[in-house]
Structures are given as structure tokens and as C-alpha cells.
């Protein structure tokens, strides 16, 4: 079955512990749902919002990324689905959508034999 990466971008911080609680519970439920339906490949990892960028022929190291908060990747998960439309359909339940963030769905590139 083809595999896909979900890249989680943006999303606002909860405004109270009560809200954090609700966000947490929704994520747990969502991840559980993916796993129970056989879609989970790797839960993935959360990423710090900032780090370093190494670039150019002179190999300069700068702070970054300087993308807007709504575009910064906050983490990723690997899943499998029949095709990209199913993968996108599954992503519709991601709790990040309720908090102004978005999920980027990217097929893992397959080596065709």
C-alpha cells in the first residue's frame, strides 16, 4: 500500500489548560483511529519551531526557518492509504484543522521497478 507523509503546519497554541486538554484528547483519538484502521506506519516526531539553515556554496549557517508561523512544520506522521485521495480524506479529521493549522499530504516517492 502506498505510503504518505503528513506534515503538520501552523496551528494556534491553546489559550487555557482546559483547551489544551481538549486538543490533546482529540489528537489521541485521531492517532488511535489511524492505527485501528491500519493506516499508521510511524507516528513520526514533533519538531522544534526553529533551528538552523545551512545553505549556499559558502555553507553559511543561519537561524531559521523564517517562514510565517502558519507555515512552519511542527511535526510529521507516516501513514499508508490506497491512494492520495484516501490519504487526504483521512487528513480531514486531523485536529490541527480546528486550530487554524493545515496538513500537507505528500506521497512517499516509490522506486518503480
Amino acid at each position: 500500500m502506498p505510503e504518505f507523509a503528513y506534515l503538520y503546519r501552523g496551528g494556534t497554541r491553546p489559550e487555557s489548560p482546559q483547551q489544551a486538554q481538549q486538543v490533546m484528547q482529540k489528537w489521541i483519538a485521531w492517532m488511535k483511529d489511524l492505527a485501528e484502521h491500519g493506516h499508521m506506519v510511524d507516528r513520526g516526531q514533533p519538531l522544534e519551531r526553529s533551528g538552523k539553515i545551512v545553505q549556499g556554496a559558502n555553507k553559511s549557517v543561519i537561524d531559521g526557518p523564517f517562514a510565517e508561523a502558519k507555515d512552519v512544520v511542527g511535526g510529521f506522521t507516516l501513514i499508508k492509504a490506497n491512494d492520495i485521495s484516501e490519504a487526504a480524506e483521512l487528513a480531514k479529521n486531523c485536529p490541527i484543522l480546528e486550530r487554524g493549522g493545515h496538513v500537507e499530504v505528500r506521497p512517499i516517492m516509490q522506486m518503480s521497478m
Binding site: S16, P17, A20, M24, G74
Partner: protein, 425 residues
């Protein structure tokens, strides 16, 4: 873990409950004047935990994880700010030196210290310079992790009014310089009545509350019980009045689940299926009531607990000792008279001496104007008029009550009573 963390609740309330203890602990280290800084540090720590957990899943011991995150965040803040800021005066010197910093912070985060911090913060929130409703809002905000919007919903405030109430209260708290010290017997005893009162009001906000969401009201009651238990488990807090507060909360809370039928309709005491009352809570409540019967002083909490106990013990409405309840309300009117108490007394009089006597008592309530916006006041008139067969008058009263209803359950309830006047039910 302390009283507050003892219940194996999974993660249902994890963030909210740990929040209170963490803010209390961090503000003890930073000093009360840095309350905002402490709250921000805890929020940062919690947001990090959330970021990691939502992808990786929950760790084995989420509480310990949160404590470590808050501790590390506190250390970061101290290292960053210590040249510019003063922290808690009694710790300031240790925090300034990298030699003593980590150990000093570790000590403050030890399990025992954290348990006391919950009480310290609770007592600090009941500052005499604050109005009672501000104390309750502050307890909810800091100790129960309710946000401004949630507090607005619980008390039917606008978000702006809710923000203002909490901001002002925090300014007073921040000016109080340090957390209330719970080791001094004299200070503790002096502040304790205010704490009882705030917890009682918190409970009532849930029990008789206006919030449109039944779930929110249930939360308020549960939080009040949790905090009251934390007080009663402290050696200085275990006085008869605290036992009475715990008793009345448990005995009343035992009826909460029976107050809504399966369709979510509000049921009066007369309609409830008593088999749905929570017998475990009733047993705890009765045990608290027994322990409260020490000493010479009878507080309003004793009397309210005794009233709730009469109901809890009665197998049916008819078998309820209404005479005893009338007597208890009379006593309550002497200790803490209020139109709401008088209203409840009138309803009890109706049960023990008939609808005409009840109506007379209802009409005799002093300062009844203060009940004008309370839907159950009109509803009580409606009920008694209906029993006396005055359908037209009853209908008018229920219509008024319906107009004053504060949430969907109340609306449906009064609609049902209105229909009863037409003889349809």
C-alpha cells in the same frame, strides 16, 4: 502525590489540574509579584508537552513529565531574567548563584512542597481585598485551569467582563508579595472561612448554575469537591466547618446525575428516580456530616448538609421528613438569611403544611425583588397555584419563568410545567 492528584483520573483533567499546582509552585519560586511570568512559564511547559504528546502519544507518567517540563522552564526563565528581576525574597540569593540554583528549585518541586502549594495558592486566591466572585473566578482560573472564555460561560459574563474580573484579581494577588503561608495556625484559621465560602460558591455555580452546558456545571461541582477535599486533608483544615462543606457538596452532588433524564430534561426533586442517586457519594457525605458534628458552632454549611442528608435518606418524596426540613430552613434563615433560602423554606412548608401555607410563605419573602430574575421563584408560584387548581395564574407564572430560563434544560423544564397547566401532562 497529594490529595488533589490521588484520584486515578487518567488524563481527563491532567492539564487543568497540574496547571494549578505548577503555577502555585513556580510562583512560589518566582515570587507572587511575578505571577504573570510564572503563568507564562507553566503555559510554555504545557504547550511543549502537548506538542510532543499529540504526535508521540502519552508518556507513562504524564504528571511527572509535566513537573519536569515546568521545572526546566522555570530554570530557563531564572537564568535569563535573574540580572533584571528579583524573585521570591526568601529564595532570591540561592537562585542567583548557579551553585545553588538547581537544588533550590528541585526542593520547591518536591512532592510535599507541591501538595502544600495547592493550598497556599487556594488561600492566596481568597484574599480579603477581593470580592467573593473574583475569588471564585481566580480559583477557577489558576487552580482549575479554566480559561477566560470558560469562566465567562460558567458565570454568564461577557468575555470582556470575565477578563476584567480576573485581571483585577491577579493584580491584587501579585501585590500580595508572597503566597499565603499555610503553616501558621492563626493565619490559617483566619482565612479559612473565606476559603469555605469561595468553594461553596464554586460548587453552587455548578449546582444551581446558569451555564448553558450541563458538562461545565458538572465540572464546577467536581472541582469544588476536589479542592474541599484538599482542605479537609490538611491538618489545620480538618475543622468541623470544612467537614460540613464536604458533606453538603457530596450529598448534593450525589443527585446531579438524576437531575437530567435520559433525554437531557431537567427533573425536579419530585420527579427524580432516586435509584440513580450516587450511593457512594451519599455514604461519603454522611460520613463527612458525622465528622462535622464536633464543637459548639453550627454553620450554614452544617444546616445545608443536614437538609441534603434528609433528602438523601428519604426513599420517596412522600416519605421525606418535610417538618424536619422546614425546621432546618428556619435555622438557616437565622444563620444566613437570604431570599433564596426563604424560597426553599416556602417550598418545604408547602410539602409539610399544604399549598396554601406554602403560598403564604412565598408571598411573605422579604427582599423578594432580589429574586425577580431567578426563574425558580416564578416557577414556585406557578407550582403552588397549580396545586391549588388556579391554572390561569399558574400559567402566567410559568410563562415568566420560561422567559427567565438561563439554559436549554431550564427552558424545556418550564415548557413542560406550562403544558401541565393545560392538563396535557
Amino acid at each position: 502525590m497529594g490529595a488533589a492528584g490521588a484520584a486515578p483520573e487518567g488524563i481527563d483533567h491532567l492539564f487543568r489540574r497540574e496547571h494549578g499546582r505548577m503555577v502555585a509552585t513556580v510562583s512560589r519560586i518566582f515570587g507572587m509579584h511575578n505571577l504573570k511570568l510564572a503563568e507564562d512559564a507553566v503555559q510554555d511547559a504545557f504547550c511543549r508537552a502537548l506538542e510532543v504528546w499529540k504526535v508521540r502519544g502519552l508518556p507513562e507518567n504524564p504528571s511527572a513529565w509535566l513537573i519536569t517540563a515546568a521545572k526546566n522552564r522555570a530554570l530557563d526563565v531564572i537564568r535569563r531574567e535573574r540580572t533584571a528581576r528579583r524573585f521570591a525574597p526568601e529564595l532570591d540569593r540561592e537562585l542567583r548563584s548557579e551553585w545553588t540554583l538547581v537544588q533550590a528549585v528541585e526542593e520547591q518541586f518536591s512532592a510535599n512542597a507541591i501538595r502544600d502549594d495547592l493550598l497556599r495558592m487556594m488561600f492566596s486566591c481568597c484574599h480579603p481585598a477581593m470580592p467573593e466572585d473574583a475569588q471564585v473566578a481566580l480559583i477557577l482560573n489558576i487552580l482549575c485551569g479554566f480559561g477566560v472564555a470558560e469562566i465567562a460561560a460558567a458565570f454568564m459574563l461577557t468575555p470582556a467582563a470575565s477578563t476584567k474580573r480576573i485581571t483585577r484579581a491577579k493584580q491584587i494577588l501579585a501585590r500580595s508579595k508572597r503566597l499565603f503561608e499555610v503553616t501558621s495556625r492563626r493565619d490559617f484559621a483566619a482565612r479559612l472561612p473565606a476559603v469555605h465560602r469561595a468553594l461553596y460558591l464554586l460548587f453552587n455555580a455548578g449546582y444551581h448554575g446558569a451555564s448553558a452546558e450541563a458538562a461545565v456545571r458538572g465540572e464546577l461541582c467536581r472541582e469544588a469537591i476536589r479542592l474541599a477535599r484538599a482542605v479537609v486533608e490538611h491538618p489545620l483544615g480538618a475543622v468541623p466547618e470544612t467537614h460540613a462543606v464536604c458533606a453538603l457538596m457530596c450529598l448534593n452532588a450525589a443527585r446531579i446525575s438524576a437531575r437530567l433524564d435520559f433525554a437531557g430534561n431537567l427533573l425536579s426533586l419530585f420527579e427524580q428516580d432516586r435509584r440513580r442517586w450516587d450511593q457512594a457519594l451519599i455514604a461519603q457525605g454522611l460520613a463527612f456530616l458525622e465528622s462535622s458534628a464536633a464543637g459548639a458552632n453550627i454553620s450554614e454549611y452544617h444546616v445545608e448538609a443536614a437538609i441534603a442528608a434528609v433528602h438523601a435518606r428519604a426513599p420517596t418524596v412522600e416519605a421525606t421528613s418535610w417538618d424536619e426540613i422546614v425546621t432546618l430552613y428556619r435555622l438557616l434563615m437565622q444563620i444566613r438569611p437570604s431570599p433564596v433560602v426563604a424560597l426553599n423554606q416556602a417550598i418545604a412548608i408547602c410539602q409539610s403544611a399544604g399549598a396554601s401555607a406554602g403560598l403564604a410563605a412565598l408571598q411573605a419573602i422579604e427582599h423578594a425583588d432580589r429574586l425577580a430574575a431567578y426563574p425558580f421563584y416564578s416557577a414556585a408560584f406557578g407550582e403552588l397555584e397549580l396545586r391549588l387548581g388556579h391554572r390561569e395564574s399558574a400559567r402566567g407564572h410559568f410563562r415568566t419563568a420560561l422567559g427567565l430560563a438561563r439554559n436549554p434544560e431550564e427552558q424545556r423544564f418550564f415548557s413542560r410545567r406550562l403544558a401541565a397547566c393545560e392538563g396535557r401532562i
